[in-house]
Symmetry: C2
Subunit: 186 residues, 2 copies
Amino acid sequence: MKQLRRHIEEILPLTEKEFSFITSHFSKQHFKKGDYLIEVGQAVPQMFFVARGLLKLYYTDESGKDHILSFPREDWWETDYLAFNTKTKAKINLQCLEASEILCITLKDYQNLRKELPKIEHFFLEKATAGHIASQQRILSLLSSTAEVRYEQLLRRYPALLQRVSKTLLASYLGVSRETLSRLSS
Amino acid sequence: MKQLRRHIEEILPLTEKEFSFITSHFSKQHFKKGDYLIEVGQAVPQMFFVARGLLKLYYTDESGKDHILSFPREDWWETDYLAFNTKTKAKINLQCLEASEILCITLKDYQNLRKELPKIEHFFLEKATAGHIASQQRILSLLSSTAEVRYEQLLRRYPALLQRVSKTLLASYLGVSRETLSRLSS
DNA sequence: TTGTTTTTGTGATATACCTCACAGGTGGTA
DNA sequence: TACCACCTGTGAGGTATATCACAAAAACAA
């Protein structure tokens, strides 16, 4: 929970009381490599904050191919936002690539927290805005760059990721086949 | 401004006083077809709400090709969020495709509005979440679908757009050449 | 109206990337 | 130790889509 406090206070200073109120809405869980936090077809009662570890958020298409939306890691918020917010079934999976320590909040607690502590909405709005900017950059890069350039951008932007994620998975994030990515690297 | 009130009240009920406080932060402007709201290299002092009209938000790459990020129309919020939030120069253009009626808010007014009327952050957070979900869907569609399928999805999702936007522009939104899109249509 | 710009369709050719197939390497585990 | 799952590289061939070129149609401006 310390991690969460530091994370929120980068944007929003908190009193002890406020922080313990926030804390009371989360539950801490440990997951092993390979464990699913969200599985396609299931309900998505929770949103997750990654305190430690690494996950993949991905969609499996009709032909069985995976497409990775994100690699949530330390200090990331993630869930299937569509399913979470509309109480529908998940269309994407969220799975651990490493053993992870996760803070979980249910939709009810999320709504209640926002209602009882309105200033937390300021924090979430800042996060959402940053996320929107990042998504837009990714769309632009998919629209305008070749696989090679996208790979270079990724390396420049998230150099640490290479140490934690296989090239096969990076390929699936970049939107190229692993064979093509392999040929680019060399 | 009526438009704005109706739009906000879909999510957040307002008193007369609250609404006129909100209103006081915006200025209404009319733009002609072809006018720029944001131009690459310039500062981006404002965020925009489209009351009436149609715009394109686009990036021009090194080779001179345009890539369209969005077609902001009635009830859309748009700006170069990165440049707006960080007070840096625009990297993307925002231009009118039709004569448009726009409500503008400066960064200072935006920050002040959020500070003085915290419940408005609830509204913006809801909008930002919806935007994040939409961006994610688009990334998925770029990662997993062929140009043909992306085009069909677009038609199913935004049928009205076809009446207002040329196929050349649609191609640039979908990430295909206009020639390829033309061959798909037939 | 007439001239001008923009849009659209279509052929021919080029290319980035995909798929399939196989082999060697690496790391975990029983 | 031996096995197995996964990862990585690389060749051969196929395909979706890009690019270039041209002409007709439509929209716009004078």
